[in-house]
Amino acid sequence: MTAAPEPDPTTRTTRTTEGDIVTSPVNTAPAAQAAPTPPPPPASAPPGPAASAGRFRQALRSISGPLVGLVLLVVVMSLLSPVFFTPNNLVNILVQVSYIGIMAAGATLVIILGGIDLSVAAVLGFSFMVVAVLYQNLGWPFWLCIIAGLAVGAGVGLVNGVLIAFGNVQPFIATLSTMFAATGLSLYLTNGTPILGLPDWFQGLSHVRLAGISLQVFLMIGVFVIGGLWLKYRPAGRSLYAIGSNDEVARLSGIRVKAMQLRVYAIAGLLAAVAGLVVGARLNAAQPSAGNSSDLLSVIAAVVIGGASLAGGVGSMRGTFIGLLIIGVLNNGLTLLNVSPYLQPVVIGAVIILAVLSDGKLIGQLRARFRRRA
């Protein structure tokens, strides 16, 4: 009753013809490498006979909805405000989002893994408060305080990881509780007062510029580049997609799922502490109020606008970076246009919905295509 030709056992001898068909996409592989697509979306071009047309189509498809949105936003803002498209302002946008970006890189890993980390913003505040307290109250050398602060960040992340991997606590709940704890502890350390007076050289992170761009921006871009390469080429990074898509399949493939959970939450905590250094250098102080819930929401928004799925298995550093820039451009542009700051979150909310809806629509169209072909 099958319409398809019966696979006849003798086809093994005619395998060479089949082999050619199967290996044909291999020849176009270098082209695919030139335009790096994030692995999860099944966006590989159909094996078209004309390779250049296929390459063009592939390049076209790799231009994601968020990127189109970002370009449109930049064009519109440039038309509406004469100040927007000036080098100074563009650098300014990057500076404004740098600490959010560093946290968002960590959050991307967590979300691809299928988890969520609500504690990052609180860890930012807490870890830098530890740095300042060790420096001011205990007189540690500042470089050692920085290392201690990074260790605190990674440590809180590790606690999250242990609760989730071995305590079977849902990520939302585990990180919600560490978020409260970290927020409370950073207030408790100094009774809610800020610590001022950090070494002058430390402010260099915020003040020193290379080619007109502040060091913190390079730090953020470095995090994204390393994170992107790790996700795409290192076995551990790639395993996050496998775990996020289906952790049982990943486990039965010999991937150490729990070890990866520990590692990823620790990295997210570490990066939050790095973001804490950026904020501290900018303020030249440790503020107990640094790292509030609006920072946390911006972090998650950047990842989600960038195309990651909270269900796990989908997301990329490139996408998150674009999402981050969209948020930065919106905040900056709306301020330049004198839109009430109270209205700005409304716009960001609308953008998140737009991003997710357009993504879902795209996926739906792709599915329909596959179905028609099959």
């Binding site: 996409p25 290192r234 496998a242 990943a250």
Partner: protein, 494 residues
Amino acid sequence: MTDEIATTLVATGLIKRYGEATVLRGVDFTLESGTVVGLIGENGAGKSTLSSIIAGIKQPDGGSMTIDGRPYAPSGPLEALTSGVAIIHQEIKMIPELSVAENMFLGRVPTRRGRVDYAGMYESASGVLAQLGVHLDPRMLVGGLSTATQQEIEIARAILREPSFVIFDEPSASLGQEETERVLEQIGLLRDRGTGVVYISHRLDEVSAISDRVVCLRDGAKVGDRPAAEIDRDGMIRAMVGRSIERRAIEPEPHGSEVVARVTDLCSDRFEHVSFDLHEGEILGLSGLVGAGRTEIVRALAGADPFRSGEVEVRGRRVRIRSMSDAIAAGIVMVPEDRKTQGLNLNRSSAENIATPWESRLAKGFVTRRFLTKLKKRMAEELDIRGDLDKPVGLLSGGNQQKVLLGKWLVQKPTVLILDEPTRGVDVGAKEAIYEIIRGLSRQGVAVIVVSSELEEVLLLSHRVMVVAGGRPRDLLDREQATPERIMQLSVPS
């Protein structure tokens, strides 16, 4: 619906297909009030499909049903219930946080003036429970009750609406001896009240004891329908297995003499005292009924689940298996039984799926596109996988998906390859191709363990067959001893 008791349910020429596989090929079935029909057959013979169709859970692709001459074509279980047909499932589905009565009335809670009529609910629940001889407070929460008691509540729920026909789908699978006897007693009560009962079970002695008639299915067709008095246990087994299956068309080639793996007294919570040797190139079949512990044994061996005690030796060296990684390092790999939830990430490409276990083991530091392409190309050629391997694997046919899954574990030649249901959900042509791949691996010296619910498959491939029942190995049969009748006799709990 309570006043008129229907007397005859007739199904004619029922057909059911799943994709390319036909699981019911024109089955006729009659159930009369006040009788118990035992429904038997091998795994996959179509028993559950037939009962699901009668109970309205699944809709047939052909054939028709009538109740007392009136057409009966339920679109769902609720409609079936309204027509007087109820089913009691193998797995108990209850909400532990609700009371006994609330569970019984789930989805049709009685109300009075817009409020739940608890008094009325408890009263009718107690009434039904009492009819069954169950002494239970309907206000108790289901959560703390034993499986056996929950099974009784399930029965009470089914007969709450006084159905004319009740189907029991392997109710005894999770019950002990005493509890099973109580269920059988309750079935007797139902029969005496004029209810028509279908009783599905692998425990043939129970079927003999309770049934008036025994119907046997094989490969989706009815192969026997006789009064229970005229058929004994051996007769039932013969009917289930059928004429000796046309096999031995391809005798497996003799395997090597070197013992490559030895399992000694493996025990866990799910199985006990499992011991066997595997020779180079040997194919060992693992047979038994669903739930006998076959899958549990091989999962433990592959490091997927922990085991309590026992030793595993590979090529003369003792290996500690505490995780999948340990097993893979020792050369033991497993193709799990459920391709869709355990074997493959359906939304990721075939190439990525094949590479998943090996990225951290074979790629030198970085996973390059060249690495992925090499693996993909090699497996496509070796296993003759057709289709675009850069597209999500879920878009391939079942047979090709299964080949991708095999390829995933053949990147490095294993010492022991475990295949749990290697041909589930693939068409006949792909099945042959997979058998040929398995034979080829055996020729290369790979020891293979095949777990399969299809007796035919086990007999066709294996050098030796281990039969498991109730978590214990019953016997290890040579190819000559491994007849379908013998295996079935060992499989069925006595």
